[in-house]
């Protein structure tokens, strides 16, 4: 049976697409070396529109209004700029209510984009530009450690990793956060309260890696301006041993917390990337595998949800689980030495 793969890798080649949410200009060049803070693309983005009914304002037919327009599509207009002027001794006029750009004109109407803001897309991860996506962004390649998570708040940043936990089941509290951590990426355990997230924001930190968050904190976590990656799940869960070992042994290194939203259809996942020097490119990780004895696997659901173990054997036929359900299952030896039976659909290969 095919097995999904959860990447927790000490050294691998990482290839990531970074694109603008709207069309814009790509400033990066092919083969350019970039650091995480470099701007690689930019765009102007207007969130609001104004539809002006010129024909109605001038009391003329739509065709006549089109002939009276003093602007065309693409024009940038200042606030109060004339858009159209009627005829007669005391002609009526239509003016731009706000500064903006004409995006459509016709049928006696003018549609303007207003409230434009400038978007800058940063590289996010240090590496080499290996592909330009015209008008949208670029593909960046780097090498290093990769730790995938299960939830991210949509932000990205880079900084020095500081571990505040001594074991995978630790809980991070606000009292552990002091000014010496300003600008750091914090490796925390489980976070259980809003004060901890807010204290981290006040320092501010550059990123937070936690094992779990209660669902009640997700709304606040999304509002934080620093990236947050959850490695294991919701509620109170220990950090899986593979992620904990890799992260805690890389403390004091520069890491990128790419807290992308998990999208099962596009494949984007929140992740922590630790760039490492290499003499030759390591292999690109595989995204799918086939279950086989000897594999390191992670349990997605109880019993022992989040635990890492070794797949001992795949049971023949269907197994009746303690829940009463029938499923293809495997015997898994946890790191504690305990043997558990888990349905294959609840397992993912770690690698």
């Amino acid at each position: 049976m095919q097995a999904p793969v959860h990447h927790i890798l000490a050294l691998t080649t990482i290839v990531r697409e970074r694109v603008l949410p709207v069309a814009g200009t790509v400033t990066a060049r092919l083969n350019q070396k970039v650091s995480s803070g470099d701007v690689i693309a930019e765009a102007n983005w207007a969130r609001e529109h104004i539809l002006l009914d010129v024909a109605r304002a001038l009391r003329v037919s739509p065709n006549a209004a089109d002939r009276l327009l003093k602007c065309k599509v693409g024009d940038t207009l200042a606030a109060s700029a004339e858009i159209a002027v009627g005829k007669g001794l005391f002609p009526r006029s239509v003016r731009a209510p706000r500064e903006g750009k004409v995006v459509a004109a016709g049928g006696g109407q003018v549609l303007m984009e207003v409230g434009e803001t400038r978007l800058e897309l940063r590289a996010g991860i240090p590496g080499t530009i290996i592909q330009i996506i015209p008008g949208r962004g670029a593909v960046i390649q780097t090498a290093g450690a990769l730790i995938q998570g299960v939830w991210g708040n949509g932000r990205i940043d880079t900084g020095l990793l500081v571990s505040l936990v001594e074991k995978p089941d630790a809980v991070l509290t606000a009292s552990r956060l002091d000014v010496s951590l300003r600008g750091s990426i914090i490796l925390g355990g489980s976070v259980k309260d809003a004060e901890t997230l807010q204290a981290a924001a006040e320092l501010p930190i550059r990123g937070l890696i936690v094992s779990s968050l209660p669902p009640s904190l997700l709304h606040l976590a999304r509002e934080m301006r620093y990236p947050i990656v959850v490695t294991d799940g919701f509620g109170t869960m220990n950090m899986n041993s593979a992620a904990y070992k890799l992260l805690s042994t890389n403390a004091k290194r520069e890491v990128t917390v790419n807290a992308e939203t998990f999208d099962r259809y596009t494949g984007t996942r929140p992740e922590v990337i630790i760039p490492l020097p290499i003499s030759q490119d390591p292999t690109v990780p595989r995204d799918v595998d086939t279950f086989a004895p000897g594999q390191q696997v992670r349990l997605r659901r109880p019993p022992s949800a989040g635990a890492i173990g070794t797949l001992v054997s795949i049971k023949p036929g269907l197994t009746i689980l303690p829940s009463g359900l029938r499923a293809h299952a495997a015997e898994v030896k946890l790191e504690s030495g305990e043997l558990v039976i888990a349905p294959l659909v609840n397992l993912e290969v770690v690698g």
Partner: protein, 585 residues
């Protein structure tokens, strides 16, 4: 059935679900169509595959291993037609529910008329309505444009205007749709279904035709103010849904080619089957089908040829699970649990399960949570679907469900269980059927596939239904009564074909069973107490022929509506007792 009536075409049907893809073979056995076997594999609509054909091929390969017959060639292409060496199949059909819930915007003139029809129409596919526009919408055009740009719909469903009636108002309302589409990148523009005033086709083409990547027209859902006819529009919307999916998910186009266009949204295919069955079962009662899976809960009902269909992604058990709390509370879900589980644990479960929709409960605690969530999701889906049942549908008391015969149930939450009693209790709790009805479990999830196959071979669904491919769980007797716990409400006598008989006294608040094995029949005589109604009128008894099933005849004496005790300890004890009565642990 004489062999001469059957051409002998084998048919392979594939259902691509959110979590699992199933391949099912139907073939002629002893002169009639039979369900032969099914194979399944994890669905592959999601990354890293992003190609549903991979899961379909894997499921077909698993089916090949079971039947010992090649269906795919060395290049993993379908072998068709069937070959003299036994390999291949003659026909292929597919159903599809995988993929992200589509975002739909509905446009109509009047909120209570055309917009309501648009809502009902959109609920026949796997879509969530993210915005509505009508004459009652007081937003400015630019606000509507900004809203459309923000929500980025996949589909816009436009209704409104009787044939030959209003057109200027619809034109006005389409302006924001056209302008917003113009402002979107070409590859993100929404597909459009127009199901309104038929005289406006050319105007619609000029307004949005060049901007919509897909523009479909269907007959008007409201040809006149008093008449609603959703079926032709639902058929067109189903086709549009598949066409949008072809653009969104790789591999759907291949299934479309293999099936020669016989690919339908799974929920719609169930609805089609129910339309067909409601004509076959010409009873005064309705016929009901429920399906609860990762993508959605689907409720379809037929009433003498008229049918309703509701596809509710918001009540699916997969990635949309956290959104369930927009419709219910943790306490309302936990009332169904036989175990004392903290509400925080349930909230964590909903979020964690949404990460892994294909994961299944392995422990008793996880199963208790999964079953409680399934009950509440199905209960909410049923309450939502009831809005659209005909007012003339026969019932025993207003506010309760109409009378149904039979109730067909399927979906992962029901079919994965090893114990039919678990599934039956879930249905009794969530649906709360009344009177006497037969409950049939579609353990192989064949119903949507039969609905799709019907278009290629109208003999096949009838013969497969008659062949015993579905599991008869039993006959349910659910009196309408409300009294004190333990009060006698019903006496019943079951006479078996061999002349023996069994009796039961049903008390309020209890579940009771009388054995009646599958394939056997009996005669059931009721003596309800005063005020108790099983379908013969309050306090009136009668005799009915009943057929057997895995659990025989099940008496649900818990009253309607079902009121669970407020005291948690007592409630959980009762739930455990009810489960034990129906063969659970």
């Amino acid at each position: 059935m004489p062999t001469s009536l059957v051409e002998g075409d084998s048919l392979l049907a594939v259902d691509v679900g959110a979590a699992t893809t199933r391949a099912v073979l139907f073939d002629v056995v002893e002169g009639g169509y039979r369900f032969v076997a099914s194979g399944q594999a994890p669905s592959t609509a999601e990354a890293p595959f992003k190609d549903v054909s991979e899961g379909a091929r894997n499921a077909i390969e698993n089916l090949q291993a079971i039947i010992g017959r090649a269906l795919l060639n060395g290049s993993r292409d379908l072998i068709t037609p069937s070959q003299s060496n036994g390999s291949g199949v003659d026909a292929f059909v597919a159903t599809l529910s995988a993929g992200p819930t589509m975002k739909a915007v509905i446009v109509g003139l009047l909120t209570d008329v055309s917009l309501e029809s648009a809502r009902r129409l959109t609920e026949t596919i796997y879509a969530r309505i993210v915005d509505t526009m009508s004459l009652n919408d007081h937003r400015k055009s630019e606000q509507q444009i900004d809203s459309l740009l923000r929500v980025r719909p996949d589909i816009v469903v436009i209704t409104g205007g009787t044939d030959g009636g209003a057109s200027r108002s619809i034109q006005k309302m389409l302006e924001p749709v056209g302008l917003a589409s113009f402002l979107m990148p070409a590859d993100r523009r929404p597909a459009v279904l127009f199901a309104g005033n038929q005289k406006m086709e050319s105007e619609i083409k000029s307004l949005v035709g060049s901007l919509a990547p897909l523009l479909h027209f269907s007959p008007n859902v409201r040809p006149s103010l008093e008449t609603e006819d959703l079926d032709p529009a639902a058929r067109e919307l189903a086709r549009l849904f598949v066409n949008v999916r072809k653009k969104q998910i790789k591999g759907v186009d291949m299934l479309d080619i293999w099936s020669h266009g016989h690919i339908l949204p799974t929920g719609y295919a169930v609805g089609r089957m129910m339309r067909f069955l409601s004509k076959v079962y010409s009873s005064t009662k309705g016929i009901l089908s429920v399906d609860i899976g990762a993508s959605a809960s689907v409720i379809s009902a037929g009433f003498r040829g008229k049918s309703t269909l509701g596809v509710y992604p918001q009540f699916g058990l997969g990635e949309n699970l956290p959104g369930l709390l927009n419709y219910t509370t943790l306490e309302d879900i936990l009332r169904w649990s036989p175990l004392d589980i903290p509400s925080d644990a349930l909230r964590d479960y909903l979020y964690q399960k949404s990460l892994y929709p294909s994961a299944i409960p392995a422990t008793k605690e996880d199963q208790a949570l999964a079953q409680a969530v399934s009950r509440q999701a199905l209960y909410l889906a049923m309450q939502t679907a009831r809005r659209d049942f005909p007012r003339t549908a026969s019932t025993l008391k207003s506010g309760l469900l109409p009378l149904f015969e039979p109730i067909l149930a399927g979906g992962g939450a029901l079919s994965d269980s090893n114990r039919p009693g678990d599934g039956l209790l879930l249905l009794l709790d969530a649906l709360q059927p009344i009177g006497v009805t037969t409950v049939i479990l579609d353990q192989n999830n064949l119903l949507p596939l039969l609905g799709t196959a019907a278009a290629r071979n109208n003999l096949l669904p009838v013969q497969v239904l008659d062949s015993g491919a579905f599991l008869s769980v039993g006959t349910v007797v659910a009196p309408v009564v409300s009294t004190t716990y333990g009060a006698p409400i019903l006496r019943a006598k079951l006479e078996y074909d061999n002349g023996t008989e069994a009796r039961v006294d049903v008390k309020f608040g209890s579940l009771e069973t009388l054995p009646l094995p599958s394939g056997t029949a009996g005669k059931l005589t009721f003596q309800p107490m005063r005020g108790v109604d099983v379908g013969f009128g309050p306090g009136h008894g009668g005799t009915l022929p009943v057929s057997g099933g895995a659990l025989g005849v099940v008496f649900d004496g818990r009253g309607r509506p079902l009121n669970l005790p407020a005291d948690g300890v007592r409630r959980r004890e009762l739930i455990k007792k009810w489960r034990w009565t129906l063969g659970g642990e």
